[in-house]
Symmetry: D2
Subunit: 123 residues, 4 copies
């Protein structure tokens, strides 16, 4: 997944505002759903981020094209843990381990297999 | 209503990103509801912006304290038009005429008097 | 220019937050520069928005693919006026007349011809 | 530090978008500078986030008043580690360990004592 850096993504330091990397990761997760003609929301059910361990390794500037990779690290009944990384050309500039729960009306439930499969990039 | 300029509000030009002035105006409208212990959402009903005429007259920097003024220009059955202005100290840096409709489940309805009164700053 | 609607673009009304249409227009203007291998910033010089007349004609939801069109309405020595419109499929959902000035270190200067040409989509 | 939740902070799930908690923490760090009449930027020098371990423990809605606490966990020559937490009334809804480096023109340098003192809330 390719992401262009626009004015709105930068701050007065001239580079991408740090919290925006989490947006880029969320975009990449959503694209996994969009690719299947789905949205990451099934009625009152959706994934939510419960934990993030993020390392900011580099910076990005206006006009940069970034790419986001997504890899499943672990799946449990009530959570799935992803490794999401942002690259500028060949350089890794952001890396995060992101744990998601699946909520139904705000309460965690067992993650349905079809939802897991989407995040795994499977059919 | 006072608004502090944070990193997130700026862009690489070093000043407040232009679209954020619309956020500041929306915050000021929302505060009129919050002051009454209400939210600007009544079930499926809420105001939506239908038209904006905005003039960008100056700029704002990190740490600036801005103030937003709100004045009703016109009320009709299906719309209310506000003048919202952003000041940095005594200097007007943004001015917008903002027209709102009131939607029920996405369809415009006659604006309830109590909702009008809130935007007018009346009881 | 195609724009995907992500979670971050929506608000609790379930649709794209109104101020974000201005971001989408700015992205489209920036892409005109990126296409030429340039950025919309030349040292201390850049375009800034001075006036916007915007009409919000429809709404957009998560996963929607939007397209933004840009057309030059008028060029003067110190300003250029664009018509930018956002479409969801064939439906126009946002239309704005956007006036830009060209600033050098914060002061308006005559817009260089090469900068005008970029916004016009010319060589 | 008190933070009001506005429309712009929410997403279509009806609650605060997860990445925005990092913005709230950044606002709280910036306020420590503003309180002293300073900004978190000293020429080409500023703090940057290098690592975040965040736990999302609850949710926040439109109109909620949140408070952010900031506590220094550890200081080293090249980094300072903070614990920042977001509360909704008495309930902790977000907690993050945030590591900052101090950059001069993009390169890490020893954090000046006066900058450390600001984040510590000292004179």
């Amino acid at each position: 997944m390719q992401i262009r850096v626009y004015y709105e993504d930068t701050d007065l330091g001239g580079i991408v505002y740090h919290a925006n990397y989490l947006k880029f990761c969320e975009r990449a997760r959503s694209e996994l759903f969009f690719e299947k003609g789905l949205i990451p929301l099934d009625g009152n059910r959706s994934f939510v981020v419960t934990k993030i361990e993020a390392n900011f390794l580099g910076s990005a500037n206006l006009a940069d094209m970034l790419s986001v990779t997504t890899k499943v690290l672990q799946t449990k009944r009530l959570s799935i843990t992803l490794l999401q990384e942002v690259y500028k050309d060949e350089t890794k500039i952001f890396s995060a381990i992101i744990k998601l729960a699946y909520l139904d009306n705000g309460k965690p439930i067992i993650i349905p297999q079809n939802q897991l499969d989407i995040l795994k990039g499977d059919n």
